[in-house]
């Protein structure tokens, strides 16, 4: 099962490598990982997507929680939450593709943020599935370059992760 961990950790050099090192040392898998400081500059917020059986996820939670730099963590996928990922795609924009990609961008509520005579750069936001669907719609032949941020997530309603 795929799961999303939200982690609050001390914003100190090396904190990221402690989490990443733990995953590689114990053979856990990381599908994506994003990290940036929060409104409190002494804290970083990390969103980590992993997968494993319930037992493995339980162990991951315990091991991450054991790291001294980790202040708090929550398994987002355990309750209602919102997931978003941002993707920048450079596409072909010649001939038929010039209209087609623009139309798709409208349908996916994506934005074309850079244009030249042969290419578009499109910004798409949504769940991972939506981004995959956009890429599929644009078609492999038209895609030149893809950059994805990895998933960010937050709990719904008053469900908040704070120090």
């Amino acid at each position: 099962m795929r799961h999303i961990l939200s982690i609050l950790l001390e914003n100190e050099s090396g904190a990221l490598s402690r989490v990443a090192g733990l995953f590689s040392a114990r053979g856990y898998n990381i599908e994506s990982l994003t990290v940036a400081p929060t409104e409190d500059p002494s804290l970083s917020r990390m969103t980590l997507v992993t997968s494993g059986s319930d037992e493995v996820i339980e162990q991951i939670m315990k091991q991450v929680n054991k790291l001294i730099d980790v202040v708090k963590l929550v398994l987002l996928t355990e309750s209602d939450h919102i997931e978003r990922e941002l993707m920048l795609v450079k596409t072909q924009a010649r001939g038929e593709a010039r209209e087609e990609v623009k139309r798709l961008a409208d349908i996916f509520r994506a934005r074309i943020i850079d244009v030249d005579e042969g290419t578009y750069t499109v910004e798409v936001t949504g769940t991972g599935q939506k981004l995959d669907a956009f890429l599929q719609a644009v078609g492999e032949v038209n895609v030149i370059e893809v950059v994805r941020t990895g998933l960010s997530g937050i709990g719904r309603g008053d469900n908040a992760l704070r120090a």
Binding site: L9, E10, S13, G14, S17, R18, G21, A25, E55, E58, Q59, K62, Q63, N65, K66, I68, D69, V70, V71, A163
Partner: protein, 564 residues
């Protein structure tokens, strides 16, 4: 008044009550050494290799329960210390290791004797810190001792760049420390404890299985009371020996790969397993699929990550062993419910039948010295009171099987990492901490060579430990596995070109003895023990192909032991 970083560091150690630091100087720590030289509160013990410093500090910590402190230089000083740090980490031993570092402006430039000590040690420490500014130094040292000694203990590395030791800052040592990201559990959850008590009292075939956590928490008395109140069979892990009196009939011996037949059969057949401060290590469980097939399991541990890591448990209790057992003992004393006497009688009858196999028997009429006999005699002559350190291999198992530890902290060995070379420096650390106690290092001719240089340290500081070298001319445990599982192809396990250990000991300024006949064992041991102020290196030439029995082979269950 402003002090230099080096002065602040030494003052911090004094504030923490540190009496001894084990270390080795070098470029990056010269200022710290200069400061150490100018004061008398903290004694520095000069080892001969940084690995020796870490093992000595580790032995010191295991014997006393106080954190061991190490000081080494940058680069090779730090890397040489890594094996000892990992050894302490695997056995949850509190240590603070201060590593020198190149000046902050040189970090990352591949400077002379630069190594990323934080990166290298990260997977084998409880935590580590790089001090980038002298203003952070005192607080960081405070945090290091706090983290190392609380919760599940462990080694903490503090990497101190040279310029930080030179810079000046007002010294103030924080009295208390709060870390929002580190709050170890202490008391257990009362609801869980009640649930556990119900299960424990329902048992008809119970086993109490305890590990190093009881020793580390200094809870052997409350643990022993818990065992006595219940009257259930008690087994200890290799790390847990001494938590319950080893000579007591209620103790059924160590469990696991080379544990007793009765302990392992008891585990296999029990209906309720009470695991206390133990972590279901693979050397204990054997094949996890076949582990305790009939048992409901209660697990008390301070580290939530130890619970349900490899074995699912029915009632987990996260908390320090002492407070949890105290609460359980109170409930046991006050409760109307008692263990089922009839069931317990039958269970003990079964236990005695297993015990009657006498699984530790060996050939007592052999013309060669049997290592088991040396251990038995050592136990008898020291009255079971010695502090025994060991290296890793067959001799370690024989010591664990035949020396009946009645008290905790007396059995000091590298259980988790299995570090050869641990025994001698660890013994020196113990002797330094407890100069009036008998300290014995049980070793083999392969292990002892790995840190033999520390014989010099022993002479310099007058640490008269007794070294018992069970010399069978092989890396015995490797040879045993090759005999059992590789059709006696003894690949690289024969120790050719061994030194003359008597001359070797003498050249280091100690007493050497060589013992070749079974009839000479007792006299030699008595003679050595009587030399109170000398380190005596006893080279026992033992039966080269003796094996450690019983044994659970890899992949087998606890009920599938190889007996003699």
């Amino acid at each position: 008044m402003e002090l230099t970083g080096a002065e602040i560091l030494v003052r911090c150690l004094k504030e923490e009550g540190v009496k001894h630091v084990f270390g080795y100087p070098g470029g990056a720590v010269l200022n710290i050494y200069d400061t150490l030289n100018a004061q008398e509160d903290v004694d520095h013990i000069l080892v001969r290799h940084e690995q020796g410093a870490t093992h000595a500090a580790d032995g010191y910590a295991r014997a006393t329960g106080k954190p061991g402190v190490v000081l080494v230089t940058s680069g090779p000083g730090a890397t040489n210390a890594v094996t000892g740090i990992a050894t302490a980490f695997m056995d949850s031993i509190p240590m603070v290791i201060i590593t020198g570092q190149v000046p902050t402006h040189a970090i990352g430039s591949d400077a002379f004797q630069e190594v990323d000590a934080i990166g290298i040690t990260r997977p084998c420490v409880k935590h580590n810190f790089l001090v980038k500014d002298v203003s952070d130094l005192a607080l960081t040292i405070k945090k290091a001792f706090h983290v190392a000694t609380t919760g599940r203990p462990g080694p903490v590395v503090v990497d101190v760049p040279k310029d930080v030791t030179i810079a000046r800052y007002p010294f103030e040592y924080p009295k208390k420390i709060e870390m929002r990201s580190y709050k170890p559990a202490s008391k257990g959850h009362t609801g869980q404890i009640r649930k556990a008590m119900d299960m424990i009292l329902e048992a008809r075939k119970p086993m109490i299985y305890s590990g190093g956590g009881v020793v580390l928490d200094k809870s052997h008395e409350v643990f022993t009371e818990f065992c006595r109140l219940l009257g259930y069979p008690v087994t200890n892990t290799l790390m847990g020996l001494g938590a319950f009196p080893g000579s007591d009939p209620q103790f059924v011996g160590m469990l696991g790969m080379h544990g007793t037949y009765e302990a392992n059969m008891g585990m296999h057949h029990c209906d309720v397993l009470i695991a206390i401060g133990a972590r279901f290590d693979d050397r204990v469980t054997g094949n996890i699929e076949k582990f305790c097939p009939h048992a409901r399991i209660v697990h008390i541990d301070i580290d939530p990550a130890s619970i349900a890591k490899t074995v699912k448990v029915d009632v987990p209790i996260v908390g320090a062993v002492g407070p949890v057992l105290k609460q359980m003992n109170r409930m046991l004393r006050e409760s109307e419910r008692k263990p089922d006497e009839q069931a317990l009688r039958e269970w003990w009858k079964q236990m005695e039948e297993w015990r009657a196999t006498d699984c530790l028997r060996y050939d007592r009429s052999s013309k060669r010295i049997k290592p088991q006999y040396v251990m038995e005699e050592l136990y008898r002559i020291t009255g079971g009171k010695a502090y025994v350190t060991s290296d890793v291999g067959q001799h370690q198992m024989w010591a664990a099987q035949f020396y009946k530890f009645d008290l905790p902290n007396r059995w000091i060995n590298s259980g988790g990492l299995g570090t050869m070379g641990f025994g001698l420096p660890a013994a020196l650390g113990v002797k330094l901490a407890l100069p009036d106690e008998e300290v014995v290092c049980v070793t083999g001719e392969a292990s002892i060579i790995m840190c033999i240089q520390e014989l010099s340290t022993a002479l310099q500081y007058g640490l008269p430990v007794k070294v018992i070298n069970l010399n069978n001319g092989y890396m015995g445990m490797v040879r045993q596995w090759q005999e059992f599982f590789f059709q006696k192809r003894y690949s690289m396990s024969y120790m050719e070109a061994l030194p003359d250990f008597v001359k070797l000991a003498e050249s280091f300024g100690h007493v050497g003895m060589k013992i070749e006949k079974p009839g000479d064992v007792t006299g030699a041991l008595e003679e050595a023990m009587a030399m109170k102020d000398r380190l005596v290196f006893m080279d026992f030439i033992t039966d080269p192909e003796e094996n450690v029995y019983p044994m659970i082979p890899a992949g087998a269950g606890q009920n599938e032991m190889i007996l003699v």
